[in-house]
Amino acid sequence: MAKRPAPPLPSALRAPPPRPGEANGRPTAADRTKEAGIAVVDWLDERTSLSGAGRWLMFRKVPKGTNWYYTLGSATLFAFLSQAVTGVFLAMFYRPDASGGAYESIRHITNDVFLGQFVRGMHLWGASVMVVLVFLHMGRTFLFGAYKYPRELNWVIGVTLLILTMVMALTGYLLPFDDRAYWATIVANNITATGPLIGPYLGDFLRAGPEFTATTLSRFYAIHMLLVPGAIAALIGAHLYLVTKLGTTAPPWSKVDRRPELSETEV
């Protein structure tokens, strides 16, 4: 049966006739903007080949059954980023001066600086949040068996990151330089020194001598804002590389799906 022509549409629903300039094959402003964006990305990609790396990083196969527990690693990453950003801005006001200046600068941040109390609060509470998230992430990895072959190395890197997070918490605790910070550091330092044979020397290293001095505070500050954050950032890079390379694990309760199209390696 021959197809009958569609009834004519009312004029309000008909496509508007082409405006002058549009139908002549000349690009509009929107087209030009779109083209410019593509040109910039092309220019970068031609010189870096980053698009392949981006696809490799972002468009991965994810096992069926992936759930909210798999977001704990990203949550920890964002806690770290929050600590890094707030820490940089706190460092603009902080003074590692053991004879009163450190405490005074913290008081200044909290009471006088615009949004200072908020940024310091973010850093202070964010530290606890990060430690809690690290442990939750670790617990998820352990309970889901995600530390097993071939992901053992990522577990080792993760444990190193846990230790470095603890070092951050320990060294950051001294910086407000109130009574609690001072005595907590004295105790932590003395606990370090109770390790047999090398403990006394480790204690001296951490304290920069046999007694607490001005050097101790600057030493903790340097470790807290230069040494350990650099190491953490580098190890997070390695951690994420291995996650991308090896993929995430399926939840332990999910059954093996043997459909052949699922074993294709190209997405």
């Binding site: 004879s99 105790v187 330092n189 020194a193 109770t194 001296d204 001598g209 607490f212 050097t215």
Partner: protein, 222 residues
């Protein structure tokens, strides 16, 4: 793979048939270049890494400058009770560098140890031998009590109860022109009140403890 590689029959590159070899040459120029470049890199890295490392661990080997500090006239201290004095252990850092010492005149009836014979005044450091909290002398109980974890010490600074692993540290004292002077570097004692070079809190000095926690170059007995 290594087995397939031809054995070098001669140490001279010329004999091994390497193109462009010189007479008497024993190392290929490519290998010489490799070694030289790596050595130059290693020297450049050590040039900044070794001083930085030494900079960081240097304080382990440096003894801070302690000094004799005047703490009052001889008649200010009695044989029967402790008087607290504030001494500056680390100068230049304000309140942080100060510490309290409890001082009394040496009483031959109770300070019978031969090690105390040359000490005119007994000066007890308030740094708890557990993890270093400040202890306080409780006169009524005749005990030093630590607020953190409940360490208790007797009149001589020996542990009575709680977690501390050795008696309280002491300061050397001397008398000059009718004034008592205290040396701001501590020394440690074991449970027999035998003197040792200063140890950090939490490090026992009885039995094997003195070997597990060796004395450090940064803290020596004065």
């Amino acid at each position: 793979m290594a087995a397939k590689r031809p054995k070098h029959t001669s140490k001279y590159t010329l004999d091994r048939g390497i193109p462009g070899a010189f007479d008497g040459e024993t190392i290929t120029r490519r290998r010489f270049m490799d070694v030289t470049a790596n050595a130059a890199g290693a020297i450049a890295v050590s040039a900044f890494a070794l001083p930085a490392l030494g900079f960081a661990i240097g304080p382990i080997f440096k003894q801070p400058g302690h000094a004799w500090e005047d703490i009052g006239p001889t008649e200010a201290f009695t044989e029967t009770n402790y008087i607290p004095v504030v001494v500056t252990i680390t100068p230049g850092v304000g309140e942080v560098g100060k510490s309290t010492a409890y001082v009394r005149k040496r009483n031959p009836a109770i300070d019978t140890d031969p090690y105390d014979a040359n000490t005119p005044y007994i000066a007890i450091s308030t740094r708890c031998a557990h993890v270093g909290c400040p202890v306080r002398w409780i006169d009524a109980a005749e005990r030093f009590v630590c607020p953190c974890h409940g360490g208790v010490y007797d009149l001589l600074g020996r542990r009575v109860s709680g977690p501390p692993v050795r008696p309280l540290d002491r300061f050397p004292t001397r008398v000059r022109a009718g004034r008592v002077q205290l040396y701001t570097g501590r020394f440690s004692v074991n449970s027999q009140l035998r003197r040792f070079s200063p140890r950090d809190p939490g490090e026992p000095l009885d039995g094997i403890g003195q070997y597990l926690y060796p004395s450090r170059p940064s803290a020596r007995i004065p």
